[in-house]
Symmetry: D2
């Protein structure tokens, strides 16, 4: 009932706290016979890890993944894939003050309200460190999807007020990794970088948007009622720390449109049924239609700021808290691989589930 | 694997197609001893049912719910609660053309791609008629939450370009039902109504936004990692037909904010820990903090329009389809009780799940 | 959490009480495109229904199944299959006394202890009537398995002290339905019938054993750890009313054997790997090996007897209860199709699950 | 779909193979605030570990458990409890021959049939080593149940033909650990020990029965339909390696009884409702009734024997295999803590689930 698992056919369970000995993940349901490219998984972790550029937290974690179960002679065996990442550089002292005072807009107060007993070191289980385990699982999922030529590309499309003025189909994905913001447009990336830098210098933080595009997804993934593909994608994204919003295809922009403009007309192209527009974002009635899937994910500004804030302590008295520790001024550059990972997990899950849809 | 169930502790399973003999719902997990107010459930159905005003579809369904299991002498017994609603006024002939041609932005094409064999009458299982079953389950959930004084209020906050310029805390909930749009501001409602009317007359449709507010939710509901309360709410909303976006609290608006402005400072009020602002939307780290929960749900314009559209038929050839049948020009007035129902199901589920959080 | 569903990929949910308006079942996960043979399902119900012979209860139920969802033009659509059976001939008055007094070895006391509020009519949800819904689901599962030429045959192998002295491979399955006991040996059946008759005349009841054989199951079904095929079969059987024991293959008899005698040696036969003996009962390491699966299910004597028994009433006082109503003197003849149904559900579930075991 | 998790509210997931670097377990759902007695858990492991006496395998594993998640300052936090045990003394060379030849009555053949790709070292995931992870989870469950004064006692009641002639209520539980067989009767234990010794010397193996008694279980645990308490116990037991049978209460012995003799009459004792006999084994209608729960579990003889056996190899050719490695001549002495562990997991799960049964 505690919700540390995600997925039904490709089921991911994570464990571990930010300041315990390790974090880890168990994947139950990855099919046997998948060639494991551990280097690829390690690369995804490198894209998520702290300290990778001057606009991310300066904490250092080598984030080396060790697979301990489910792989034999380089291939998956069908038994659970388990992987662990050791924790390093956990300066618990930075958090001493925070064990007594509720950090504003963190999980401190709500965890206490829920469980009564909480590991305060680094946010414990609610730390974004947990997402490293998701990136490992997502890497495995991406390998599985790769066999079907399903490719996932996420990128930063907004930082604070700075918006990338390009639609998903205008993006050159190979440009995403060309800059430390992970925005596939050099000029916009530069502005975002400057904005994050200035924000950081003031001890403040700022939000952003990650856009994700799935290419090569066949028609038929997703279920008609509760487990619509975009519903599961939405849950996956909203389960990532700091996410406040999700929209698929035309999203909130669809509201002001008329049906006659919004409807995606079907047409034939190279013997394949396509739609002439893609306001649906590649999903209709909860099921993929073979067009590109794209969606946007809103991240709020990081809650830890280097400023004094009024708050309440565990005794329930008014208090003042001073931001410490090493935190990201803006979470979206590092969130890109997390968004990709969760997308891959959802698609791998639905790809496997879809195998039972028809008798033949 | 087909996803016709929702929830873990308060588990809702729906069945039935729009043009079959009936639709129904099974609720497994509603605790024993709950006084059943069937009239209340019936009222929720009346708010959802077609034909209730001139801005909704003119289809007629009496939508009378019959409980067939799980209730004895007016109280729940702990065994599964099952309820059915008979289908009426199903004019299958209206759909004859549509069985061969894929209606743009409907589930016709994707269902065929997925299952190979499809019930084309009225959209079959993908019809919004399925949501009547959800409203029944949501009504039961609301009764359960009512015991805890948790109240859910949804309303229309946008129709096409017309926006209700009031924040959730400015709303007088008793005004929601005062007009047929379900917008709690008479002047704005009037404009929306006119806009929908004009749209309908042109044979077109338009989108809208439903805002939902939960009052009285105690701190502690929701889980820290994958089953964050807003992640489950998001999935619940995105599983409703025509929904394209979801945002909790500050949502997409948080992106352009700085952490120093966005953070909700804790304070003490009447012996209770509160936050002085509520950008979090009542949820922090995935767990309710005792403040009002509020979120917004974007609905695209209804796909069925009374205009000719180019499309492709089942044989894969280009074709033209002509909108027929009786459909809503704008879905949001009738979506209000559906949003409330799904919200109630999520909260009932998490309220029950939370009973196992602590040893004592 | 209330456990009214069974299976993961072929998920069966039942609802309804013995004296409510109907009982029903929802099957979520049956693949699309399965030709539905409703007559076959109805035949299975006829084998379970009361009043079919003089050695079963004389209650009359027509037990006509009505499919209300998930089937179009004679084939499954992939959406949930729902079916209902109306209740008839429910003489609630027979149970008046029993609402106050706990019937020995029934669920009356434990349901009260658990839920506080109980439907006492005919045992409510704990009535064996619920198994009619299982038989419907099992019938659909058998149709699905039939495509794979997997055949399930159950029969009565013991009634009271009378034991069928034949091993599963000696059985001619077509003889099972030749007598009202469902024992595939005429002479033994006759003895069993006489024994049941005498027992009934004394107002007493007696137990029995049902043996089940699965023929044609391919190697590979079942999972290596918790969801071993025989573990899921065991749970399925033990969930049937009155079942007290389950053994697979050599079962309890294996205890006194040595490994050198018990091991099933592998050999080659017509190009296929087989075992020269089958103490394993067709399952090794939790996974089917292609040999016949067979197991035995022990049913205790029916608890309702036509004799006075001392007991305690709801107020907690000593009392005397007098058996009334129309009950089976021995449950196993009618249990045969229930055992088959639950077996089919388990196999259909694992057959679908197995589709995700390998990458290719 | 691969079934490496067990339980719904107290959900246990295991991972790891016998010859990989480690095995481990994740418990999701253990309530917060439970005082962790790691020494107690370690003691349970010691009772299971190989090499503990001359009648068990001589393999040496220190089996030291390391908790890596979910515990802070000696108490559970409500987040997942993860624990690992490093593998040692894994002589892979002993298994070289076995990677090519299917060991009779092992999982070698069926794993190949299912997954195509298999880790042959020591049985891989199907090794009984996996049960060490269960013992850890069971230890935590026992601590949770201990708060409710629910106590679980398993013991050896049969080895080969040697039967302990005592009913569960005649057992002095403190005698169980007085001998290496774990049979609570010195004279019988001696005979069993001798029998095992002789069997071992012949290079053979033998089966046995473990009986388990739960004392102090309150009325109300278990669910009325599919998740009957004994159905879940049965599945739990049947999921343990080498188990071939399960019976609750009177079990297979009930078959030959009449209802008038089998029914457990209710009576009042010290203000509590009790039954004067306990053929039900403490469970009626799938729900505990407050009496002792007891059941019996049949273990077949260990498949690995020190004798040559004919078999088939991976190429499908006839071959001969020679037993090697260090194996138990009889599994039941070491199975006692495994049976207790799985029992504890089932009861902890149902105890938590039962918290949602009633409104109040």
């Amino acid at each position: 009932m505690r919700g540390n698992s995600f997925g039904r056919a490709f089921k991911v369970t994570t464990f571990g706290e930010s300041h315990g000995p390790m974090i880890g993940v168990v994947i139950d349901g990855c099919p046997a016979g998948l060639k494991m490219d551990i280097e690829f998984v390690q690369e995804q972790l490198a894209r998520r890890k702290p300290g990778q550029s001057r606009i991310t937290t300066q904490r250092k974690e080598s984030d080396e993944v060790m697979f301990v179960s489910g792989i034999f002679e380089g291939k998956t065996t069908g038994t659970p894939i388990a992987a662990i990442i050791m924790n390093e550089d956990a300066r618990s002292k930075d958090y001493a003050e925070m064990s007594d005072k509720y950090r504003p807009s963190h999980a401190d107060f709500t965890l206490d309200a829920k469980f009564g007993h909480r590991d305060p070191r680094g946010g414990g289980r609610s730390s974004a460190r947990e997402t490293a385990a998701r990136v490992v699982a997502g890497g495995v999922a991406q390998l599985l999807l790769g066999l079907q030529r399903i490719r996932i590309h996420a990128y930063v499309s907004q930082v604070g007020p700075i918006v990338l003025e390009k639609s998903p189909e205008q993006i050159h994905f190979h440009r995403i990794e060309k800059n430390i913001v992970r925005c596939p447009d050099a000029a916009t990336a530069k502005k975002m970088e400057t904005f994050i830098d200035e924000t950081r210098k003031r001890g403040d933080t700022v939000g952003g948007v990650v856009t994700c595009v799935v290419r090569g997804c066949p028609a038929g993934l997703g279920e008609p009622v509760f487990d619509k593909l975009h519903a599961d994608l939405g849950k996956a994204m909203l389960s990532i720390n700091a996410v406040k919003g999700f929209e698929i295809g035309s999203g909130f922009g669809s509201v002001a449109m008329h049906g006659s403009a919004h409807n995606d007309l079907f047409a034939k192209s190279s013997g394949k049924v396509v739609t002439t527009t893609n306001h649906s974002g590649g999903i209709q009635g909860g099921i993929s239609n073979g067009m590109d899937i794209y969606f946007r994910v809103a991240f709020k500004p990081v809650a830890t700021i280097m400023k004094a804030q009024t708050t309440v302590n565990r005794k329930g008295n008014a208090d003042v808290i001073h931001g410490k520790g090493r935190h990201d001024p803006c979470v979206v550059p590092r969130a890109v691989p997390i968004v990709e990972a969760m997308t891959a997990i959802v698609l791998a899950d639905h790809w496997l589930r879809n195998r039972t849809a028809k008798v033949g």
